[in-house]
Symmetry: C2
Subunit: 321 residues, 2 copies
């Protein structure tokens, strides 16, 4: 079968012919038609993960056929018994095991879900990792309500866009932040009420007297998140699913307790989260935002686009039959 191979840290993404994996008990072979990139794939190439092994086939997100049935794969494997947190041996498809940037992938049988029938393979491949991360952050952990005013930071990224779509589908009012006015405009075209440029150093002070947020969905952390507490409503929840800008350098306990705020960590999602997300996407006929589709052999170009961070939505690989 054809697959993308990564042979070393910082190595190139090469298209190779490799052997089709052997199916053992409890596993199924999915014939992939589309896959999607995540930041995780870029970080793995840069060597920013423990327990790396080479060579391997990257990729966590994928959609294709299991027999004649269109399916989507839940890439979170061995979550464990407790819906509150993942077990010690939880891991994600695409490192250490071979992933979805290939014509076929081997996964445990219970990781397979019917593909929403209103979506193409390219759209369905945009769901798994970012979708379930956003679903858990917004719904399970953030407990969004239709009366909430929600702020989603860094719009354009996969998780942030899903978070916006889920929050909008519940009827909540959504605001966004971005470093790009163009991305803010795109978010507004999708239903966001407004947005703030985080490149403006005074945006929080400017917003402070006019607006307050019941729920914040943030993947950046850093100084920004400490500041955003100031524009939370009393009783507000801030869900943190990432920390791309690093540690929060100064967090005020006084602000936290006086406003009865909550800072809630959330990562990935349980099998229950995944199942509920698929249902929610079907019920609301949500169509994921696909930034660009590359043929499988242009994996390197897809990685480059992800690294540059200019995308708005998921970067998808189309996989030939």
């Amino acid at each position: 079968m054809k697959a993308l191979f990564l042979e070393e840290i910082n190595g190139p993404i090469r298209l190779v012919n490799t052997e089709t994996p052997q199916v053992s008990e409890g596993q199924v072979l999915v014939e992939l038609r589309a896959a999607a990139l995540n930041h995780r794939d870029v970080w793995i190439r840069k060597g920013q993960y423990a327990h790396l092994r080479f060579p391997f086939i990257p990729g966590s997100d994928g959609a294709g056929f299991m027999g004649n049935e269109p399916v989507v794969i839940n890439p979170g494997i061995q979550w464990g018994e407790n819906p509150m947190f993942q077990a010690q041996d939880f891991h994600i498809l695409g490192m250490p095991t071979n992933g979805t940037f290939a014509q076929k992938v081997l996964v445990p049988a219970d990781q397979i879900y019917p593909m929403p029938d209103h979506l193409s393979f390219e759209e369905a491949a945009a769901i798994p990792l970012s979708g379930v991360t956003a679903f858990r952050a917004v719904m399970t952990r953030g407990k969004v309500k239709y009366t909430d005013r929600v702020l989603i930071t860094g719009i354009g990224g996969g998780v942030a866009l899903w978070a916006m779509q889920f929050a909008l589908a519940t009827g909540a009012e959504v605001w966004v932040t971005s470093g790009s006015e163009e991305k803010i405009e795109k978010a507004k075209a999708m239903g966001a009420t407004g947005g703030f440029s985080y490149r403006d150093p005074d945006w929080i002070d400017g917003a402070r007297n006019t607006i307050a947020f019941d729920l914040v969905i943030d993947g950046a952390g850093g100084a920004g998140l400490g500041q955003i507490m100031k524009i939370c409503s009393p009783g507000g929840r801030m869900v943190c699913y990432g920390g791309t800008t690093g540690s929060i350098p100064k967090l005020s306990p006084q602000l936290l307790f006086w406003k009865q705020l909550q800072l809630i960590g959330s990562t990935m999602g349980s099998p229950q989260d995944f199942k509920e997300m698929i249902s929610f996407i079907c019920d609301h006929r949500i169509v994921p935002v696909v930034d660009r589709v590359y043929p499988l052999e242009q994996g390197e170009e897809a990685y480059t686009r992800m690294e540059h961070g200019n995308q708005f939505g998921k970067i998808v690989l189309q996989i030939p039959e």
Copy 2:
């Protein structure tokens, strides 16, 4: 009536004879038999509150008679409609309005609760502000379960001791921290499983491989709370009801999201919290820890003991008939 007066920032606490307040509609006059100090009283004397007015009678906690009925006062006034957070005009008895360090105090009628009949006035006066703060932190916000392993920092303070008593009464396993070995021993005598001296700079690294906490109840904030995240169980909750050691200088989003932690602010308590707390104290026949009882005229000595921080439990004032 006799009352303690504070006439200026950093002024002395003086016993004076002053006029009995006039009762207006919707208010009741409580004949106090005991009152208790809170850190709030010390901070007010130091001028660390907004909207100070002088002279005034301090004191938030009190128990006494309303007519022939022994009562305890809920000092949190005008919480508002939402149990999640206090309204803008929420305030606490004892600034700006006159408080409980007096023979009589005027309070809105709905702030009065029957006194638990297993307690003396001195014990009941030890309940209100620290009790409801702990109850909300442990029960309403922290949602303690009997299977939880709980860490309570700074044992000896009023809120921390109540938190320990509430957590123990639910059947949870309780551990404590303190700067004093003697206080740790006293906590163990009350039912704590063990304790750590926060004066040992390596206590967290030492604890890290042997123990993990499902729930942390903390009133200190600062660098300590950022460190304590390391010894939280996956899915753990950290409830922050104070920030005596200042801002948290470095909070890791990665730790927060990977372990699915929650940092939850909590302050004071709603009328519902207060009501449930009184019932819980009665059901479990909990007796508050009283550090020392001073006659009303020794208010200055009581304040001094509070300022020095050597107390273990509440500092109470006995009020003459």
